[in-house]
């Protein structure tokens, strides 16, 4: 494994896509295992102990979400789900069931690779259990409950800190709106949905350089929020000039 880098298991029934993903991952020095059906995939997940699983939702023998459930019953290996639909409900549902990320077909290979690397980084980082979470210039120390921008300490109210704390404990992962509401107010309702949006806006005004174009506390549209620990890489050509922070980021 040290020679090849991490092992990735691709569970997909489309031979062409499997071949391409294999080529892409091998090019990025991954060791690739392939499975055509859910049964094969589960077997390989147990025997080959991959560091990362790419799981297609549309499998012939079993629902992809059930496969995810079965993997999660014994392992917390990062799983990236491939789907053909960008449906918020499906996203929320899969994140709740333990998916690490969600990529909609068609996707760029470099985007998938970037997300894979981010998932792996989170996985290995969580194993080291550092109490300080770094997101851009912002560091959140979960042990001392101290949030600072470089050397400058940021004053936060109880609720504001709680929001950052929950996001930091899942750093890099999406935390759903409902989960955040329950963690912060102990209940999720229409009213708390509004409070959450306002709380996020306030926290952004304290930690973001450009609060209306956030790149630390980012929105996962229709699903929840994510504390961005690594800069995302995208496949689209970057001839793009812009005056806005969000554009420069992308």
């Amino acid at each position: 494994m040290s020679e090849h880098g991490p092992t990735v298991l691709i569970i997909d029934d489309e031979p062409t896509l499997r071949r391409l993903l294999t080529a892409g991952f091998e090019h990025a020095k991954f060791l690739v295992r392939q499975a055509e059906t859910a049964a094969e995939g589960l077997e390989s997940a147990v025997l080959d102990l991959p560091d990362l699983i790419i799981l297609d939702l549309g499998l012939p023998d079993q629902d992809g979400a059930d496969v995810l459930d079965q993997i999660r019953s014994w392992s917390n290996v990062p799983v990236i789900v491939l789907s053909v639909r960008s449906n918020e409900h499906e996203k929320v549902y899969l994140f709740k069931r333990g998916a690490d990320d969600y990529v909609v077909k068609p996707f760029g290979m470099s985007e998938l690779l970037a997300r894979s690397e981010a998932a792996l980084r989170r996985y290995f980082k969580s194993a080291t259990q550092s109490s300080v979470v770094q997101a851009g210039p912002i560091s959140i120390d979960l042990a001392t409950r101290r949030v600072s921008n470089g050397e400058v300490r940021i004053q936060l109210t109880r609720k504001e800190y709680k929001l950052l704390q929950v996001l930091a404990t899942h750093a890099g992962n999406v935390v759903t709106h409902e989960h955040l509401q329950k963690e912060i107010w102990r209940e999720a309702s229409d009213k708390h949905a509004q409070y959450l949006r306002m709380l996020v806006r306030r926290v952004r005004s304290k930690i973001e350089q450009e609060p209306t174009r956030p790149d630390i506390l980012v929105t996962e549209s229709g699903v929840g929020y994510r504390l961005q620990t690594a800069r995302p890489v995208s496949s689209t050509p970057r001839r793009h000039r812009s005056r806005t922070a969000v554009m420069e980021r992308s």
Binding site: E14, T16, L17, L20, L21, A23, G24, H27, G58, L82, V84, R85, S86, E88, H89, K105, P106, F107, G108, M109, S110, L112, T157, R158, K159, H177, W185, D190, K191, H192, A193, Q194, Y195, R197, M198, L199, V200, R201, R202, P211, T212, R213, P214, T219, S221, G222, S234, S235, T236, P237, R238, R239, H240, R241, S242, R243, T244, V246, M247, S250
Partner: protein
């Protein structure tokens, strides 16, 4: 003959007895209360009578009679009148403490009192009945109004049937399960209710359908001993489906209850006819099938078209990274073109899928609270590659109110406006995106300095937004795309409009004229139930 007559008399006598006992059962409390009222008046009168000699005592007794008549109706009022006559005679008319009367004048007075009391109680009683009836009508009207409002909000059978069930359960006073029947179910039955329906009941209903014998049947569930009554909702047609009413353990009530339910259902059927329910149901059935078809179509199209596209895009990516191609300008531009066109095809597929969501009955948004800032950022992010050759200038007002919309739909609509601006303006020019609040509305605008359009131009789609203000007539489609870009069929804008309208907003497109740019704005209402800015929930 005599025997028959005697039997009839006996039955009638029984009926009288039953009638009296029924009257008593219904009026026991009001009658007792009316008599108590008379006794109270008597005590007061006796107290006053100690000191002052009173004339026209019976007149005072009109008060309890009228109270009884207006509060409880004619029977308690008559009881009060008779008691009053007897009591006033006993206590106040000589000889005292006897029902005998010496003075014929007093006897006439008392008789007059009885007549007046009877007439008054009759009138007051009738008035009360009318008030009762009008109250009841008001109630029924309210119920019916609430029901028809709920019906208006029902889209598919799975929403409609529970609404009818709730209405029937309330009317009958027992839990009711509605069973859908219909030719398209091919003799099968469908139940939408969250309530559990025992297998015996389902079997019996199926047997009823199979035998075409729609007389009311009762089934007793062996396990819980609960009694279920099964019959078609309407005696005249099976279109409304069948109902199964859970009568609990009410076997004794048997025939009476069945009669009661029959009466109510006849009334309900009339109501349904008035609400044109058969049509509502058949339309809902059609929509359910339409929705199903659409789901299957979207699923199939998504899978069959996007999976090969994913392969093309991934291939282009991998090829583009290979050193042999990266170092060859010609080849790398070909690979880039493959990539761009595949992405464009993906965009077109998305539009078609969106169009199937936009049906004749409109789009059904899934509302959630969202910060408009997030919508703008996300829409720009999604169209990153389309905006690659333009400057994008974003201006977002601070403290915009939250809006209650379907985030995905509005992002898609704004994305479409961005894409159009990129398509219809020169490379290197600036596209200005702004989000601002304007009298209880949030406005998301996209402004370009592109080709604009001429006021006289005609839209090929009648349902498209009409440009307002400076440009009348709406001529978005005469715009010629910049060289290298491709003119669309206008589907994108049609979808954007449908999505905005579905969220209660409006889409507005204006241009100063040809060659002078275009401004497209989405106006979204701010919900009235938005919580006060930075409430107690956020401050701690």
């Amino acid at each position: 003959m005599t025997a028959v007559f005697e039997q009839a008399m006996k039955e009638r006598a029984l009926d009288y007895r039953a009638a009296i006992s029924m009257l008593w059962r219904a009026n026991a409390f009001p009658i007792s209360f009316s008599i108590a009222l008379v006794i109270f008046v008597t005590i007061c009168l006796m107290f006053v009578h100690e000191y002052v000699r009173l004339h026209l005592i019976p007149l005072v007794y009109i008060v309890p009679v009228i109270i009884a008549a207006t509060r409880w109706g004619i029977v308690p009022a008559l009881a009060a009148a008779i008691t009053s006559a007897a009591v006033s005679d006993f206590f106040f008319i000589p000889p005292l403490y006897s029902l005998w009367i010496y003075d014929p004048q007093e006897a006439v007075d008392l008789a007059l009192f009885l007549v007046v009391a009877t007439v008054t109680s009759n009138l007051a009683g009738r008035l009360r009945r009318e008030v009762d009836i009008s109250h009841q009508r008001e109630n029924e009207k309210g119920q019916l109004y609430a029901f028809s409002r709920r019906l208006a909000g029902c889209f598919t059978t799975s929403e409609l049937y529970p609404a009818i069930e709730e209405f029937l359960s309330e009317k009958i006073g027992h839990p009711v399960v509605l069973i859908e029947t219909g030719s398209e179910l091919e003799g099968n039955l469908r139940v939408h209710s969250p309530r559990r329906l025992p297998q015996q009941v389902v079997d019996e209903a199926a047997a009823m359908m199979a035998s075409n014998d729609f007389r009311t049947r009762t089934v007793i569930e062996p396990a819980s001993k609960e009694v279920w009554l099964i019959r078609p909702l309407s005696a005249d047609t099976i279109d409304y489906g069948m109902i199964a009413a859970n009568l609990n353990h009410d076997v004794g009530a048997g025939k009476d209850l069945e009669q009661h339910i029959n009466t109510i259902l006849t009334e309900v059927t009339t109501t349904f006819e008035r609400l044109n329910m058969a049509r509502t149901i058949s339309e809902a059935k059609l929509r359910t099938q339409g929705d199903l078809f659409r789901e299957v179509l979207i699923g199939t199209v998504s899978h069959e078209l996007r999976t090969p596209l994913a392969s093309i895009l991934a291939s282009a990516d991998i090829l583009g990274q290979a050193p042999e191609i990266r170092n060859n300008d010609k080849l790398s531009s070909l690979v880039q073109a493959t990539h761009d066109e595949a992405e464009r095809l993906n965009g077109e597929i998305q539009k078609l899928l969106d169009a199937t969501r936009t049906t004749a009955s409109g789009v059904r948004p899934k509302l959630d609270w969202v910060d408009p800032t997030d919508i703008v950022n996300s829409a720009i992010d999604q169209r990153r590659s389309r905006l690659a050759s333009h400057d994008v200038d974003v201006e977002i007002s601070r403290d915009l109110p939250l809006i209650h919309v379907d985030t995905a739909l509005i992002e898609q609509a704004l994305g479409q406006l961005l894409e159009n601006s990129a398509k219809y303006s020169f490379k290197g020019t600036t596209i200005r995106v702004s989000a601002r609040a304007e009298d209880r509305r949030v406005v998301l605008s996209v402004r370009d300095s592109g080709v604009g359009f001429h006021p006289s131009a005609k839209s090929p789609h009648p349902s498209l937004p009409r440009a307002r203000g400076r440009v009348k007539g709406g001529g978005w489609f005469c715009r010629q795309p910049q060289r290298g870009a491709t003119a669309g069929a206008g589907l994108g804008l049609w979808i954007a409009n449908a999505f905005v309208v579905a969220n209660g907003g409006t889409l507005d497109i204006t241009s100063e004229g040809q060659g002078r740019g275009t401004t497209a704005s989405i106006y979204l209402p701010v919900a009235s139930d938005v919580v006060a800015e930075a409430g107690e929930g956020v401050d701690e």
